[in-house]
């Protein structure tokens, strides 16, 4: 079954601390993985995709096929990073995003 698991509902860190939001997936083929973010009072929006291998707002994510993980990392968290983060995948049906249940990141001053 296709599934995305985000084990933490809430992750609280202090400003300047490293942050890692965990994402594990279950998919029999070769999925494409994404991170979507929803800031307070804003819409859900794409943050990054694994194929791009880029850093967005200081965040990076590496696809580990052996561990079926796609954790989101940032070395120094900022208060403006506080948001809801969703990991998602697409598979053979490239239109269909399968979302995890999300992790709320709270960066405290």
């Amino acid at each position: 079954a296709q599934r995305v698991t985000q084990p933490e509902k809430l992750l609280s860190v202090f400003k300047g601390a490293p942050v890692e939001l965990k994402c594990n997936y279950s998919y029999s083929g070769s999925p494409e993985l994404f991170w979507y973010v929803q800031y307070s009072r804003q819409r859900l929006q794409l943050l990054l995709r694994h194929i791009s291998r880029e850093s967005i707002k200081g965040f990076t994510a590496d696809l580990n096929k052996g561990e079926t993980s796609f954790h989101l990392k940032k070395p120094f968290a900022q208060e403006e990073d506080s948001a809801m983060y969703y990991c998602a995948l697409t598979g053979d049906s490239s239109y269909k995003l399968i979302f995890g249940s999300g992790t709320r990141l709270l960066v405290r001053p």
Partner: protein, 113 residues
């Protein structure tokens, strides 16, 4: 600004009373989606339109229907809402060249009394 608009933002309906949620977009995207998101859960795809082609997810209840009269507009009809249909309903769009990058509306929160 090009965007995805959902109306109303909050909708209260009675048990069994049909309700329609609307979505419009100025992005000229050819794909439109409807998701249901219950509290603390992942957004769940209900169906999508690829141009005029309607695609229903296998586990979407028959109670949910959709219409897309033109490129810009898409409607979600709930024929006989039950208490379990109370949720946030998200509309999203994407272009066929970048299906994975979906642009979401602000959502409509549906309450069923």
């Amino acid at each position: 600004d090009a965007m995805v608009i959902q109306n109303p933002r909050y909708q209260v309906t009675q048990f069994g009373k049909p309700v329609t949620l609307s979505c419009s977009q100025t992005l000229n995207h050819n794909v439109m989606y409807w998701y249901q998101q219950k509290s603390s859960q992942a957004p769940k795809l209900l169906f999508h339109y690829y141009d005029k082609d309607f695609n229903n997810e296998a586990d979407t209840p028959d109670n949910f229907q959709s219409r897309r009269p033109n490129t810009s507009f898409c409607f979600l009809d709930i024929r006989s809402p039950g208490l379990g249909d109370a949720a946030m309903y998200l509309c999203a769009t994407s272009s066929s060249g970048r299906l994975y990058e979906q642009y979401f509306g602000p959502g409509t929160r549906l309450t069923v009394t």
